[in-house]
Symmetry: C2
Subunit: 238 residues, 2 copies
Protein backbone atom coordinates (compact mmCIF):
# COMPACT_ATOMS: atom_id res chain seq x y z
CA UNK A 1 0.00 0.00 0.00
CA UNK A 2 2.85 2.38 0.83
CA UNK A 3 5.62 3.00 -1.59
CA UNK A 4 9.11 2.79 -0.15
CA UNK A 5 9.76 6.47 -0.70
CA UNK A 6 7.25 7.42 1.98
CA UNK A 7 8.67 5.16 4.69
CA UNK A 8 11.52 7.53 5.53
CA UNK A 9 11.66 11.27 5.41
CA UNK A 10 14.13 13.89 6.57
CA UNK A 11 12.67 16.42 8.97
CA UNK A 12 14.39 19.79 9.38
CA UNK A 13 13.94 22.06 12.36
CA UNK A 14 12.27 25.35 11.45
CA UNK A 15 13.53 27.03 14.61
CA UNK A 16 14.07 26.53 18.32
CA UNK A 17 12.42 27.50 21.57
CA UNK A 18 13.96 29.58 24.31
CA UNK A 19 12.70 28.41 27.71
CA UNK A 20 13.80 28.82 31.35
CA UNK A 21 14.53 25.07 31.56
CA UNK A 22 18.26 24.45 31.26
CA UNK A 23 17.95 20.68 31.61
CA UNK A 24 15.45 17.84 31.32
CA UNK A 25 15.07 17.61 35.10
CA UNK A 26 13.48 21.08 35.20
CA UNK A 27 10.88 20.54 32.49
CA UNK A 28 7.27 20.14 33.61
CA UNK A 29 5.77 16.80 32.63
CA UNK A 30 2.94 18.32 30.61
CA UNK A 31 2.52 21.61 28.84
CA UNK A 32 0.03 24.18 30.21
CA UNK A 33 1.01 23.58 33.85
CA UNK A 34 3.42 26.52 33.81
CA UNK A 35 2.27 30.09 33.40
CA UNK A 36 5.38 32.09 34.33
CA UNK A 37 8.75 32.45 32.66
CA UNK A 38 9.89 33.74 29.29
CA UNK A 39 9.27 31.44 26.32
CA UNK A 40 10.12 32.56 22.80
CA UNK A 41 10.07 30.60 19.57
CA UNK A 42 12.77 31.78 17.18
CA UNK A 43 12.64 30.74 13.53
CA UNK A 44 15.40 30.01 11.07
CA UNK A 45 15.11 31.74 7.68
CA UNK A 46 13.06 31.40 5.50
CA UNK A 47 10.52 30.26 8.12
CA UNK A 48 10.75 33.55 10.01
CA UNK A 49 9.11 35.54 7.20
CA UNK A 50 6.32 37.80 8.48
CA UNK A 51 3.86 36.63 5.80
CA UNK A 52 4.18 32.99 7.01
CA UNK A 53 2.38 34.12 10.19
CA UNK A 54 -0.37 36.24 8.60
CA UNK A 55 -3.53 35.61 10.63
CA UNK A 56 -1.84 33.81 13.53
CA UNK A 57 -2.77 36.62 15.96
CA UNK A 58 -6.41 35.50 15.64
CA UNK A 59 -5.64 32.24 17.49
CA UNK A 60 -5.25 31.98 21.26
CA UNK A 61 -3.43 28.62 21.29
CA UNK A 62 -0.96 26.78 19.08
CA UNK A 63 0.27 23.22 18.61
CA UNK A 64 4.05 22.97 18.68
CA UNK A 65 5.67 19.89 17.16
CA UNK A 66 9.23 19.43 18.36
CA UNK A 67 12.05 16.93 18.63
CA UNK A 68 13.14 15.33 21.89
CA UNK A 69 16.77 15.98 20.93
CA UNK A 70 18.18 15.07 24.35
CA UNK A 71 17.09 11.46 23.83
CA UNK A 72 19.80 9.25 22.34
CA UNK A 73 18.95 8.69 18.70
CA UNK A 74 20.61 5.29 18.74
CA UNK A 75 18.37 3.92 21.44
CA UNK A 76 16.56 0.99 19.93
CA UNK A 77 12.77 0.86 20.19
CA UNK A 78 11.51 -0.09 23.65
CA UNK A 79 7.82 -1.00 23.60
CA UNK A 80 7.11 -0.09 27.24
CA UNK A 81 7.89 2.79 29.57
CA UNK A 82 7.19 3.57 33.24
CA UNK A 83 5.18 6.81 33.48
CA UNK A 84 6.14 9.09 36.40
CA UNK A 85 2.40 9.48 37.00
CA UNK A 86 2.21 5.87 38.14
CA UNK A 87 5.09 6.19 40.53
CA UNK A 88 7.58 4.91 37.98
CA UNK A 89 7.04 1.27 38.81
CA UNK A 90 4.24 0.27 36.46
CA UNK A 91 4.78 -0.46 32.78
CA UNK A 92 2.61 1.04 30.04
CA UNK A 93 2.91 0.73 26.28
CA UNK A 94 4.82 3.64 24.80
CA UNK A 95 1.85 4.48 22.53
CA UNK A 96 -0.38 4.78 25.62
CA UNK A 97 1.94 7.49 27.00
CA UNK A 98 3.65 10.71 25.94
CA UNK A 99 7.05 9.50 27.07
CA UNK A 100 9.95 11.08 25.15
CA UNK A 101 11.40 7.58 24.69
CA UNK A 102 9.40 6.81 21.57
CA UNK A 103 9.82 6.16 17.84
CA UNK A 104 10.91 9.27 15.92
CA UNK A 105 11.31 11.26 19.19
CA UNK A 106 8.38 13.48 18.18
CA UNK A 107 7.04 15.84 20.82
CA UNK A 108 3.72 17.67 20.77
CA UNK A 109 2.55 20.46 23.08
CA UNK A 110 -0.19 23.01 23.15
CA UNK A 111 0.89 26.51 24.17
CA UNK A 112 -0.86 29.80 24.70
CA UNK A 113 0.09 32.48 22.17
CA UNK A 114 0.91 35.65 24.11
CA UNK A 115 2.24 37.86 21.36
CA UNK A 116 3.78 37.94 17.90
CA UNK A 117 7.07 39.82 17.65
CA UNK A 118 7.47 41.50 14.26
CA UNK A 119 10.85 43.06 13.59
CA UNK A 120 11.94 44.18 10.10
CA UNK A 121 9.74 41.53 8.46
CA UNK A 122 11.01 38.74 10.76
CA UNK A 123 8.79 37.01 13.32
CA UNK A 124 9.24 35.31 16.68
CA UNK A 125 6.44 34.07 18.95
CA UNK A 126 6.06 34.65 22.69
CA UNK A 127 4.16 31.73 24.22
CA UNK A 128 3.23 30.41 27.66
CA UNK A 129 3.22 26.89 28.99
CA UNK A 130 5.81 25.05 26.94
CA UNK A 131 7.31 21.86 28.41
CA UNK A 132 10.58 21.88 26.50
CA UNK A 133 14.25 22.16 27.38
CA UNK A 134 15.88 25.45 26.37
CA UNK A 135 16.98 25.19 22.71
CA UNK A 136 14.63 22.36 21.72
CA UNK A 137 14.30 22.19 17.91
CA UNK A 138 10.83 23.07 16.61
CA UNK A 139 9.57 21.28 13.50
CA UNK A 140 6.05 22.69 13.06
CA UNK A 141 3.57 25.27 14.38
CA UNK A 142 -0.18 24.89 13.79
CA UNK A 143 -3.22 26.73 15.12
CA UNK A 144 -5.36 25.10 17.82
CA UNK A 145 -8.87 24.76 16.37
CA UNK A 146 -11.37 24.60 19.18
CA UNK A 147 -14.24 22.85 17.38
CA UNK A 148 -11.91 20.01 16.34
CA UNK A 149 -9.27 19.78 19.07
CA UNK A 150 -11.19 20.42 22.27
CA UNK A 151 -12.89 17.26 23.47
CA UNK A 152 -13.96 17.87 27.09
CA UNK A 153 -15.59 14.43 27.20
CA UNK A 154 -12.37 12.57 26.31
CA UNK A 155 -11.44 9.78 28.71
CA UNK A 156 -7.76 9.91 29.62
CA UNK A 157 -6.79 6.67 31.31
CA UNK A 158 -4.15 6.99 33.98
CA UNK A 159 -3.77 10.72 33.21
CA UNK A 160 -7.37 11.44 34.17
CA UNK A 161 -6.69 14.36 36.47
CA UNK A 162 -4.18 17.15 36.75
CA UNK A 163 -1.26 16.11 38.96
CA UNK A 164 -1.30 17.01 42.67
CA UNK A 165 0.65 20.20 43.39
CA UNK A 166 3.12 20.40 46.27
CA UNK A 167 3.68 23.22 48.72
CA UNK A 168 6.81 25.28 48.01
CA UNK A 169 8.54 27.62 50.45
CA UNK A 170 11.73 29.71 50.30
CA UNK A 171 14.60 30.46 52.69
CA UNK A 172 15.44 34.11 53.38
CA UNK A 173 18.68 33.66 51.51
CA UNK A 174 16.96 32.21 48.44
CA UNK A 175 14.44 35.07 48.33
CA UNK A 176 17.23 37.62 48.48
CA UNK A 177 19.20 35.89 45.72
CA UNK A 178 16.11 35.56 43.52
CA UNK A 179 15.40 39.28 43.84
CA UNK A 180 19.00 40.06 42.91
CA UNK A 181 18.81 38.15 39.62
CA UNK A 182 16.27 40.69 38.36
CA UNK A 183 14.50 37.94 36.38
CA UNK A 184 10.78 38.79 36.18
CA UNK A 185 8.51 36.32 38.04
CA UNK A 186 11.48 34.05 38.82
CA UNK A 187 10.05 33.13 42.22
CA UNK A 188 6.69 32.19 40.71
CA UNK A 189 8.40 30.10 38.05
CA UNK A 190 10.45 28.19 40.62
CA UNK A 191 7.27 27.60 42.62
CA UNK A 192 5.43 26.20 39.58
CA UNK A 193 8.28 23.90 38.61
CA UNK A 194 8.85 22.49 42.10
CA UNK A 195 5.11 22.17 42.83
CA UNK A 196 5.05 19.38 40.23
CA UNK A 197 7.90 17.51 41.95
CA UNK A 198 10.66 17.14 39.35
CA UNK A 199 12.28 14.28 41.27
CA UNK A 200 12.53 10.85 39.62
CA UNK A 201 9.15 9.20 40.10
CA UNK A 202 10.39 6.41 42.37
CA UNK A 203 11.52 9.03 44.91
CA UNK A 204 8.39 11.13 44.86
CA UNK A 205 6.55 9.29 47.61
CA UNK A 206 9.38 9.77 50.11
CA UNK A 207 10.91 12.69 51.86
CA UNK A 208 14.69 12.63 52.03
CA UNK A 209 17.51 14.81 53.27
CA UNK A 210 19.12 15.22 49.90
CA UNK A 211 19.83 18.65 48.45
CA UNK A 212 18.46 18.66 44.91
CA UNK A 213 19.43 21.09 42.16
CA UNK A 214 17.33 22.17 39.22
CA UNK A 215 18.62 24.27 36.32
CA UNK A 216 16.40 27.28 35.64
CA UNK A 217 17.23 30.54 33.83
CA UNK A 218 20.96 29.95 34.12
CA UNK A 219 20.85 29.19 37.85
CA UNK A 220 21.14 25.97 39.79
CA UNK A 221 18.25 26.21 42.22
CA UNK A 222 18.99 24.16 45.37
CA UNK A 223 16.06 22.70 47.28
CA UNK A 224 15.05 20.02 49.78
CA UNK A 225 11.97 17.90 50.27
CA UNK A 226 10.24 17.40 53.62
CA UNK A 227 6.95 15.98 54.89
CA UNK A 228 5.19 19.28 54.40
CA UNK A 229 6.54 20.21 50.97
CA UNK A 230 9.64 21.58 49.30
CA UNK A 231 11.97 24.34 50.48
CA UNK A 232 14.25 26.35 48.22
CA UNK A 233 17.56 26.82 50.08
CA UNK A 234 19.79 28.93 47.79
CA UNK A 235 20.82 29.60 44.18
CA UNK A 236 24.10 29.04 42.39
CA UNK A 237 25.04 30.64 39.07
CA UNK A 238 25.25 27.69 36.64
CA UNK B 1 22.14 27.16 21.02
CA UNK B 2 21.35 24.15 18.86
CA UNK B 3 24.02 21.80 17.73
CA UNK B 4 23.99 20.89 14.04
CA UNK B 5 23.07 17.29 14.75
CA UNK B 6 19.61 18.25 15.93
CA UNK B 7 18.73 20.36 12.89
CA UNK B 8 17.96 17.33 10.73
CA UNK B 9 16.54 13.99 11.68
CA UNK B 10 15.26 11.00 9.76
CA UNK B 11 11.69 10.05 10.56
CA UNK B 12 10.47 6.54 9.79
CA UNK B 13 6.86 5.57 9.41
CA UNK B 14 5.70 3.19 12.15
CA UNK B 15 2.72 2.03 10.08
CA UNK B 16 -0.02 3.25 7.80
CA UNK B 17 -3.72 3.97 7.97
CA UNK B 18 -6.42 2.24 5.96
CA UNK B 19 -9.23 4.70 5.18
CA UNK B 20 -12.13 4.86 2.68
CA UNK B 21 -10.48 7.87 0.96
CA UNK B 22 -8.78 6.75 -2.24
CA UNK B 23 -7.60 10.24 -3.16
CA UNK B 24 -6.96 13.67 -1.66
CA UNK B 25 -10.18 15.06 -3.13
CA UNK B 26 -12.24 12.73 -0.89
CA UNK B 27 -10.57 13.57 2.40
CA UNK B 28 -12.53 15.75 4.85
CA UNK B 29 -10.77 19.00 5.66
CA UNK B 30 -10.65 18.33 9.39
CA UNK B 31 -10.66 15.18 11.46
CA UNK B 32 -13.71 14.37 13.62
CA UNK B 33 -16.22 15.46 10.97
CA UNK B 34 -16.62 11.89 9.71
CA UNK B 35 -18.14 9.16 11.86
CA UNK B 36 -18.76 6.37 9.33
CA UNK B 37 -16.39 4.17 7.33
CA UNK B 38 -13.69 1.69 8.26
CA UNK B 39 -10.43 3.15 9.53
CA UNK B 40 -7.65 0.87 10.72
CA UNK B 41 -4.09 1.73 11.71
CA UNK B 42 -1.69 -1.08 10.83
CA UNK B 43 1.79 -1.08 12.32
CA UNK B 44 5.09 -2.28 10.91
CA UNK B 45 7.12 -4.57 13.20
CA UNK B 46 8.45 -4.01 15.82
CA UNK B 47 5.89 -1.22 16.48
CA UNK B 48 2.98 -3.68 16.28
CA UNK B 49 3.99 -5.47 19.52
CA UNK B 50 1.06 -5.91 21.90
CA UNK B 51 3.00 -4.60 24.89
CA UNK B 52 3.63 -1.25 23.09
CA UNK B 53 -0.14 -0.63 23.46
CA UNK B 54 -0.56 -1.72 27.08
CA UNK B 55 -3.06 0.69 28.67
CA UNK B 56 -4.20 2.34 25.43
CA UNK B 57 -7.74 0.93 25.87
CA UNK B 58 -8.18 3.35 28.79
CA UNK B 59 -8.13 6.35 26.43
CA UNK B 60 -11.09 7.42 24.30
CA UNK B 61 -9.11 9.56 21.84
CA UNK B 62 -5.66 9.53 20.26
CA UNK B 63 -3.37 11.97 18.48
CA UNK B 64 -2.09 10.63 15.18
CA UNK B 65 1.01 12.21 13.65
CA UNK B 66 1.34 11.43 9.97
CA UNK B 67 3.07 12.50 6.78
CA UNK B 68 1.34 14.30 3.93
CA UNK B 69 3.06 11.96 1.48
CA UNK B 70 1.01 13.07 -1.54
CA UNK B 71 2.60 16.51 -1.34
CA UNK B 72 5.64 16.91 -3.53
CA UNK B 73 8.71 16.79 -1.30
CA UNK B 74 10.63 19.05 -3.64
CA UNK B 75 8.19 21.91 -3.36
CA UNK B 76 10.08 24.81 -1.94
CA UNK B 77 8.69 26.56 1.13
CA UNK B 78 5.75 28.84 0.38
CA UNK B 79 5.00 31.16 3.31
CA UNK B 80 1.30 31.64 2.47
CA UNK B 81 -1.64 29.44 1.50
CA UNK B 82 -5.29 30.06 0.63
CA UNK B 83 -7.51 28.15 3.10
CA UNK B 84 -10.64 26.55 1.56
CA UNK B 85 -12.52 27.97 4.57
CA UNK B 86 -12.01 31.46 3.23
CA UNK B 87 -13.24 30.62 -0.24
CA UNK B 88 -9.73 29.97 -1.50
CA UNK B 89 -9.08 33.59 -2.42
CA UNK B 90 -7.60 35.00 0.78
CA UNK B 91 -4.00 34.42 1.81
CA UNK B 92 -3.01 33.30 5.31
CA UNK B 93 0.41 32.43 6.69
CA UNK B 94 1.08 28.69 6.53
CA UNK B 95 1.68 28.62 10.32
CA UNK B 96 -1.79 30.12 10.86
CA UNK B 97 -3.34 27.17 8.98
CA UNK B 98 -3.24 23.39 8.90
CA UNK B 99 -2.59 23.30 5.17
CA UNK B 100 -0.69 20.20 4.01
CA UNK B 101 1.65 22.50 2.04
CA UNK B 102 3.96 23.17 4.97
CA UNK B 103 7.52 22.56 6.14
CA UNK B 104 8.20 18.91 6.95
CA UNK B 105 4.74 17.86 5.63
CA UNK B 106 3.71 16.91 9.17
CA UNK B 107 0.04 16.13 9.74
CA UNK B 108 -1.76 15.93 13.07
CA UNK B 109 -5.26 14.62 13.77
CA UNK B 110 -7.28 13.58 16.75
CA UNK B 111 -9.27 10.37 16.29
CA UNK B 112 -11.66 8.38 18.42
CA UNK B 113 -10.33 4.97 19.49
CA UNK B 114 -13.05 2.41 18.75
CA UNK B 115 -11.19 -0.82 19.49
CA UNK B 116 -7.81 -2.45 19.78
CA UNK B 117 -7.31 -5.53 17.59
CA UNK B 118 -5.02 -8.06 19.25
CA UNK B 119 -4.00 -11.02 17.11
CA UNK B 120 -1.15 -13.37 18.10
CA UNK B 121 0.62 -10.60 20.00
CA UNK B 122 0.25 -8.09 17.14
CA UNK B 123 -1.92 -4.98 17.39
CA UNK B 124 -3.90 -2.79 15.00
CA UNK B 125 -6.21 0.07 16.02
CA UNK B 126 -9.74 0.73 14.78
CA UNK B 127 -10.44 4.47 14.90
CA UNK B 128 -13.09 6.94 13.76
CA UNK B 129 -12.77 10.36 12.22
CA UNK B 130 -9.41 10.32 10.45
CA UNK B 131 -8.83 12.83 7.65
CA UNK B 132 -6.15 10.93 5.76
CA UNK B 133 -5.82 9.38 2.32
CA UNK B 134 -5.82 5.57 2.29
CA UNK B 135 -2.27 4.36 2.96
CA UNK B 136 -0.99 7.53 4.65
CA UNK B 137 2.20 6.81 6.62
CA UNK B 138 1.81 7.14 10.39
CA UNK B 139 4.76 8.39 12.41
CA UNK B 140 3.42 8.53 15.98
CA UNK B 141 0.43 7.69 18.17
CA UNK B 142 -0.14 9.45 21.51
CA UNK B 143 -3.02 9.48 23.97
CA UNK B 144 -5.32 12.50 24.12
CA UNK B 145 -5.08 13.88 27.66
CA UNK B 146 -8.21 15.84 28.47
CA UNK B 147 -6.88 18.06 31.25
CA UNK B 148 -4.05 19.27 28.98
CA UNK B 149 -5.42 19.10 25.42
CA UNK B 150 -9.01 20.20 25.77
CA UNK B 151 -9.26 24.00 25.82
CA UNK B 152 -12.91 24.88 25.25
CA UNK B 153 -12.13 28.58 25.66
CA UNK B 154 -9.55 28.59 22.83
CA UNK B 155 -10.11 31.26 20.19
CA UNK B 156 -9.74 29.85 16.69
CA UNK B 157 -9.51 32.72 14.22
CA UNK B 158 -11.02 32.03 10.83
CA UNK B 159 -11.85 28.44 11.85
CA UNK B 160 -14.12 29.60 14.67
CA UNK B 161 -17.07 27.39 13.83
CA UNK B 162 -17.65 23.99 12.31
CA UNK B 163 -18.17 24.26 8.54
CA UNK B 164 -21.70 24.47 7.13
CA UNK B 165 -22.99 21.08 6.00
CA UNK B 166 -24.73 20.64 2.65
CA UNK B 167 -27.82 18.61 1.81
CA UNK B 168 -27.05 15.32 0.02
CA UNK B 169 -29.54 13.20 -1.95
CA UNK B 170 -29.22 10.02 -4.03
CA UNK B 171 -30.63 8.81 -7.34
CA UNK B 172 -32.49 5.47 -7.37
CA UNK B 173 -29.63 3.99 -9.38
CA UNK B 174 -26.99 5.16 -6.89
CA UNK B 175 -28.92 3.73 -3.93
CA UNK B 176 -29.21 0.36 -5.71
CA UNK B 177 -25.49 0.31 -6.55
CA UNK B 178 -24.49 1.32 -3.02
CA UNK B 179 -26.58 -1.52 -1.58
CA UNK B 180 -24.95 -3.98 -3.98
CA UNK B 181 -21.43 -3.10 -2.82
CA UNK B 182 -22.20 -4.58 0.56
CA UNK B 183 -19.96 -1.97 2.24
CA UNK B 184 -21.38 -1.20 5.70
CA UNK B 185 -22.65 2.38 6.12
CA UNK B 186 -21.39 3.31 2.64
CA UNK B 187 -24.37 5.62 2.02
CA UNK B 188 -23.79 7.44 5.32
CA UNK B 189 -20.08 7.83 4.53
CA UNK B 190 -20.80 9.31 1.10
CA UNK B 191 -23.27 11.68 2.73
CA UNK B 192 -20.72 12.86 5.30
CA UNK B 193 -18.01 13.40 2.71
CA UNK B 194 -20.20 15.32 0.26
CA UNK B 195 -21.90 17.35 3.00
CA UNK B 196 -18.55 19.10 3.50
CA UNK B 197 -18.28 19.96 -0.21
CA UNK B 198 -15.04 18.46 -1.46
CA UNK B 199 -14.93 20.77 -4.49
CA UNK B 200 -12.04 23.20 -4.83
CA UNK B 201 -12.86 26.19 -2.65
CA UNK B 202 -13.21 28.67 -5.50
CA UNK B 203 -16.09 26.60 -6.91
CA UNK B 204 -17.94 26.09 -3.68
CA UNK B 205 -20.14 29.19 -3.89
CA UNK B 206 -21.50 28.25 -7.31
CA UNK B 207 -23.73 25.53 -8.63
CA UNK B 208 -22.59 24.07 -11.93
CA UNK B 209 -23.63 21.32 -14.30
CA UNK B 210 -20.42 19.37 -14.00
CA UNK B 211 -20.41 15.71 -12.99
CA UNK B 212 -17.86 15.35 -10.20
CA UNK B 213 -16.22 12.10 -9.11
CA UNK B 214 -14.86 11.26 -5.68
CA UNK B 215 -12.85 8.12 -4.90
CA UNK B 216 -14.27 6.26 -1.89
CA UNK B 217 -13.82 2.60 -0.90
CA UNK B 218 -12.61 1.64 -4.36
CA UNK B 219 -15.51 3.34 -6.17
CA UNK B 220 -15.70 6.52 -8.17
CA UNK B 221 -18.80 8.17 -6.76
CA UNK B 222 -20.35 10.47 -9.39
CA UNK B 223 -22.33 13.49 -8.18
CA UNK B 224 -23.65 16.90 -9.19
CA UNK B 225 -24.21 20.17 -7.39
CA UNK B 226 -27.40 22.20 -7.58
CA UNK B 227 -28.94 25.15 -5.76
CA UNK B 228 -30.49 22.90 -3.16
CA UNK B 229 -27.52 20.62 -2.46
CA UNK B 230 -25.67 17.67 -3.96
CA UNK B 231 -27.07 14.62 -5.73
CA UNK B 232 -25.22 11.33 -6.08
CA UNK B 233 -25.94 10.03 -9.62
CA UNK B 234 -24.17 6.65 -9.90
CA UNK B 235 -21.05 4.67 -8.93
CA UNK B 236 -18.22 3.30 -11.04
CA UNK B 237 -15.77 0.64 -9.88
CA UNK B 238 -12.43 2.48 -9.74
Amino acid sequence: MNNLKSEEVTVRSIGYIETPFDEKFAVPRQSSLISHGHFEIHFHPPYDAEEAFKGIDDFSHLWISFLFDRINEDDSFRPTVRPPRLGGNEYKGVFATRSPFRPNRLGLSVVKLLSVNRNHGKVSLIVAGADMVNGTPIIDVKPYIEFVDSIPSAVSGFAREAPVMHQVSFSEEALKQIAETGIPDFRELIEEVLAQDPRPAYKSRHSDERLYGVGLCGYDVKWQASESGFTVRYLEKA
